[in-house]
């Protein structure tokens, strides 16, 4: 199936701009690279070197990475090429460079979570998603920057410096998976993995002009993901194209006995739905997921709705007022879980230790020195929300809101196959613009948190650029385990997105590739 998809994507073609087969990899996307490597048309080592050259050229200005793993990636690429030469079967992501958010564990590489408190800690074990990528033949280039413990929407809360937006280095890439989003947007790797607790994949994807997917809660194993808020965290891909996101998700999803919350079901098969079109699909435009957005964002959502209708979808408006309680509920539940998840960083066993008079003093000094302001703020919020006498009014109430939202979305899905809204209220903001105002930073997640609270999947796909020339994303939401229809609509939106604009800045021709993918899907229908 992947073969068929790759074969008709035609994405290798545009690579001609750089001349020679070597440069083809840069523009082929994951689907094209894997297919060409498997056929022996491209060497994994060449693909890797091309991407490493981009890293070398752009990393100093962007600061996407917290660690590079070049030598191991080169060794893996060489081994892969030898395997292909011997005629051995290689995986679905053969030769595809990937980057991982630095809250995912890989043996031999530090896992910092963007925090001082984990300084020096090297995980002795491998995250399930990292193992699955490796076994599929992907080449791990490095670990990417993030807001400390994934708490933030700009990647400015990293203890190791901010990441810049490839479209405008003065602006943030979004967060917390800003390093992966920027790396993919800059062409350093076709696939990045992020984690999405309240929008941390979709929001930076929108701000960087790439595709970002938060899968259904439980579809992807969290084993090896350093927890922020366990009941909301979900790993997902950031990619240049919807087809690449589909391929990445097929590889990383599926049952895992190491994660009790991981659903006991196989990975979805998404290839056949790409480019299937939207004829007859019922699309609900959620006013509550656009309200308050900047004009350029609202215009993109309206344009997306129009084009879907033009392609035969039955588009209607829908109100889900419960959405307005999403952010307050999220900012009780996520910090509550975080306050417990982050309790283990106490200086006793690993990471930073600041000595004290006794154990309690050592704990306190270590945590005060090791955690940044935003993390400390959320630990205090969460501790308070769980405290005796307040539990019911805060944590309990937030859980009831969550139940209410699940019901409200279930009602909407009685009438609609998918829902449409904005991913973010605005385009990429300036570095430092919201740092002093946590509440305005928190508002960046207002359209994305509902899907985390309900556990349902959502995807952000670039839909042209705004007045500023910066990318705008639109968000597609689907019912739980509705990944097929989610990607079906996502790939159509990708195909119908306005062309030009920021493509050059990002170094990616998403519109062209999307067109190719759509054409393939239509042909296969």
């Amino acid at each position: 199936m992947a073969d068929e998809r790759a074969g008709t994507s035609g994405a290798v073609g545009p690579g001609g701009t750089d001349g020679g087969t070597g440069a083809a990899g840069l523009h082929a996307g994951a689907v094209g690279i894997a297919q060409a490597v498997r056929r022996g048309e491209l060497r994994a080592q060449d693909v890797l070197e091309e991407h490493l050259a981009v890293v070398e050229a752009r990393e100093p200005a962007l600061h996407c990475f917290l660690a590079l793993d070049v030598e191991r990636a080169r060794a893996s690429a060489a081994a892969l090429d030898e395997a292909v030469a011997r005629g051995e079967a290689v995986g679905a992501l053969a030769g595809v460079p990937v980057v991982l958010k630095d809250n995912l564990c890989v043996p031999g590489l530090p896992a910092t979570c963007g925090s001082r408190i984990l300084e020096g800690w090297v995980p002795p074990y491998e995250a399930t998603v990292a193992a699955r990528l490796r076994k599929a033949g992907a080449l791990l280039v490095g670990k990417t920057n993030l807001d400390e413990f994934a708490m933030g929407s700009s990647t400015e809360h990293s203890a190791f410096g901010a990441t810049a937006n490839p479209h405008d280095p003065e602006r943030v890439p979004g967060g917390s998976s800003g390093g992966s989003a920027a790396a993919v947007a800059a062409g350093m790797a076709p696939i990045g993995l992020g984690s999405d607790t309240g929008g941390s994949i979709r929001q930076p994807a929108a701000l960087c002009g790439v595709v970002g997917v938060k899968p259904t809660y439980g579809l992807v194993s969290r084993y090896g993901l350093i927890a922020f808020a366990s009941s909301l965290d979900q790993i997902g891909p950031l990619t240049a194209t919807v087809a690449d996101a589909a391929l990445a998700l097929e590889v990383i999803a599926g049952a895992d006995p190491a994660d009790s919350t991981c659903l006991d079901r196989p990975a979805p098969v998404l290839g056949p739905v790409l480019g299937r079109g939207v004829e007859g699909l019922r699309v609900g435009v959620v006013g509550d997921l656009v309200e308050g957005a900047d004009r350029e964002v609202a215009a993109a959502v309206a344009a997306a709705a129009d084009r879907l209708a033009g392609a035969g979808a039955k588009v209607d408006e829908v109100a889900i007022p419960a959405c307005r309680y999403g952010l307050p509920a999220y900012y009780l539940l996520a910090p509550a879980e975080a306050s417990s998840n982050l309790a283990r960083y106490d200086g006793v066993r690993y990471g930073l230790r600041v000595e004290g008079e006794d154990v309690a003093a050592m704990n306190a000094a270590t945590r005060a020195a090791g955690f940044g302001r935003e993390v400390r703020r959320r630990i205090m919020l969460g501790t308070f929300a769980l405290s005796a006498g307040y539990y019911d009014a805060y944590y309990g109430q937030a859980q009831r809101v969550r139940t209410l939202m699940i019901q409200a979305f279930a009602d909407a899905y009685q009438r609609f196959d998918v829902l449409l809204g904005a991913t973010t209220p605005g385009v990429a903001f300036h570095q430092g613009e919201k740092l002093a105002d946590p509440l305005s930073m928190y508002l960046s997640d207002v359209f994305t948190v509902p899907s985390n609270l309900t556990g349902q999947p959502a995807l952000s796909v670039p839909f042209g650029t705004g007045e500023s020339g910066l990318p705008v994303g639109v968000q597609v939401l689907a019912p739980a385990l509705g990944e097929e229809v989610l990607f079906q609509v996502g790939s159509s939106l990708e195909a119908m997105a306005p062309r030009g604009g920021a493509d050059g800045a990002a170094g990616q021709g998403t519109g062209q590739e999307a067109g190719g993918a759509a054409g393939q899907g239509t042909g296969g229908r």
Binding site: P124, G224, S339, D346
Partner: protein, 494 residues
């Protein structure tokens, strides 16, 4: 504790002790509660560890199905409702707890309700039993082993994540003896169902006691204190009595008992305050988001029921049933037979008694021989051939062997085995014929005319002396009952 108050010795006239126990038992699973590490005592420190039980970032727990099975068995054995349960996180900082929270069942435990019957027939209510993970073990180095004055501390995480079942009783216990009996009985049940090895000295069984006192006749409960660090049945009994006495002393001095957690100091024989209700931790319980609810299905419950053998209370009831068979008396649960029954079941020898009775032994005699003689060598007794033992009982009941002779033969059976008739014959053991007993009685009467006269005059207590003389003269061959019969006959003729 106020030094001005003199603590009396329990029991204190007019006061009643009320106690409920929390028993933590380590479940004898092969692996830990949430990971695949070995669940073993005494291994080299920090060798049975992995990312999960060390709480390394990014690791996740996976519930051990065997622990759920064992908890369900205990629930079935205690007559609890075994139901859908949920894990919570209990948050507090302590270095021997790798995640700084303990995963424990909170308001939805796996077992709810039930009861346990003590050997004397008293029923103690069970509130609940819930699963939780154990902590690591901290050793304070330097000083006197307590945290104050220690130069540093060492933590062994081998125990971290070992499955615990915490069984909470109702405040139904009224004495130290009852508290000890409750723990002994619970321990026997846990061992019987294969849930625990019951080794208190290795920490497999740990007990906290909630103790309060009240005036005899009061219906309301007094303020309770939780007493921790009870590492043996002896400590438990001493601590419960001392704590009750302390509370009475406080009340008699006009004070009030403060609700607090107290630590038992075995060496000093007293409890000391650890923390008061006001200082109690706010554990900030909330549902553990890394685990899903555990709902025991019908198949699991069926397996649990099948795995629960006949329990001590039922085994005792069976013996009482044997004892009362053929008689119209209620089996006496207190007193000598009750103690014998409890002892026989506790040493796992009730099958021997029941088997002998089936083969024609007199129940009271078989019970007495097992409780008083065989139980002294329980291992040998469990290997004893039931038919041989039953035969021995029949010989004694038929008057072929005196009690003394029967005990001798039983000793040989325990040591070497064999046929009781052959053993008796080989050692020349045979009860005297009736005529011979009369001969010995006459001879003793002649040798001790004064005592004989007092007997004939009706003095009852001299019987023991006369029987003893006859036994000595006959070299133990005379049967005590037969001698007594001859004495009675002589007196009735006089």
């Amino acid at each position: 504790m106020s030094a001005a108050v003199t603590v009396p010795v329990w029991p204190v006239e007019g006061w009643e002790l009320v106690a409920g126990l929390e028993v933590h038992t380590e479940l004898s699973t092969a692996t830990k509660l949430f990971c695949g590490c070995r669940n073993a005592f005494g291994d080299v420190p920090n060798t049975n560890t992995c990312p999960v039980c060390l709480g390394l970032p990014g690791s996740l727990p996976v519930l051990n199905a065997e622990a759920v099975e064992l908890a369900a068995r205990v629930g079935v054995a205690l007559g609890s409702d075994v139901r859908r349960s949920l894990f919570h996180r209990k948050n507090y900082f302590y270095p021997d707890m790798p995640k700084n929270y303990q995963v424990s069942q909170y308001d939805e435990p796996i077992c709810v309700g039930g009861s346990l019957e003590l050997p004397d027939g008293v029923r103690i209510g069970i509130v609940r039993a819930h699963l939780e993970e154990d902590t690591g073990k901290t050793t304070h180095v330097g000083g006197d082993g307590r945290i104050h004055g220690a130069s540093h501390s060492l933590v062994d995480y081998n125990r971290a994540g070992v499955p615990l079942l915490e069984i909470v009783s109702e405040p139904d216990l009224r004495s130290a003896e009852q508290a000890r009996a409750y723990v002994a009985e619970l321990r026997a049940i846990l061992v019987a169902v294969g849930a625990s090895d019951g080794r208190m000295e290795e920490g497999s069984l740990r007990v906290d006691a909630n103790v309060s006192v009240r005036r005899v006749g009061d219906a309301t409960l007094g303020t309770r204190c939780e007493v921790k660090n009870l590492n043996s049945l002896r400590s438990l009994g001493r601590a419960v009595e001392h704590e009750a006495a302390r509370q009475v002393a406080v009340l008699l001095a006009g004070g009030t008992v403060a609700q607090e957690t107290r630590h038992w100091r075995e060496d000093e024989g007293r409890t000391v305050a650890m923390r008061s209700k006001e200082e109690a931790f706010d554990y900030r319980y909330f549902p553990e988001p890394d685990l899903v609810p555990v709902a025991p299905d019908a198949a699991l419950l069926e397996r649990a029921r099948a795995a629960v053998p006949m329990l001590p209370a039922a085994r005792r009831a069976r013996l009482f049933g044997l004892l009362s068979r053929g008689g119209d008396q209620d089996p006496a649960r207190a007193g000598a037979p009750g103690a014998q029954v409890a002892a026989v079941v506790a040493s796992d020898l009730d099958q021997l008694v029941a088997g002998a009775v089936e083969r024609g032994a007199e129940p009271a005699l078989a019970l007495a021989r097992v409780a008083n003689e065989a139980a002294a060598e329980p291992d040998a007794a469990r290997r004893l051939d039931v038919e041989a033992f039953a035969h021995l009982c029949r010989m004694e009941a038929a008057g072929e062997l005196s009690a003394t002779q029967a005990k001798t033969v039983l000793g040989v059976l325990l040591a070497e085995g064999g046929d009781p008739a052959e053993i008796a014959a080989a050692r020349g053991l045979a009860a005297l014929p009736a005529g011979a007993v009369e001969e010995f009685v006459r001879s003793v009467a002649a040798a001790h005319p004064e005592e004989w006269g007092r007997w004939l005059a009706g003095e009852e207590k001299v019987a023991g002396f006369l029987v003893g003389r006859v036994m000595r003269e006959s070299g133990g061959r005379a049967d005590g009952k037969a001698v007594r019969a001859v004495l009675d006959a002589a007196r009735s003729r006089a």
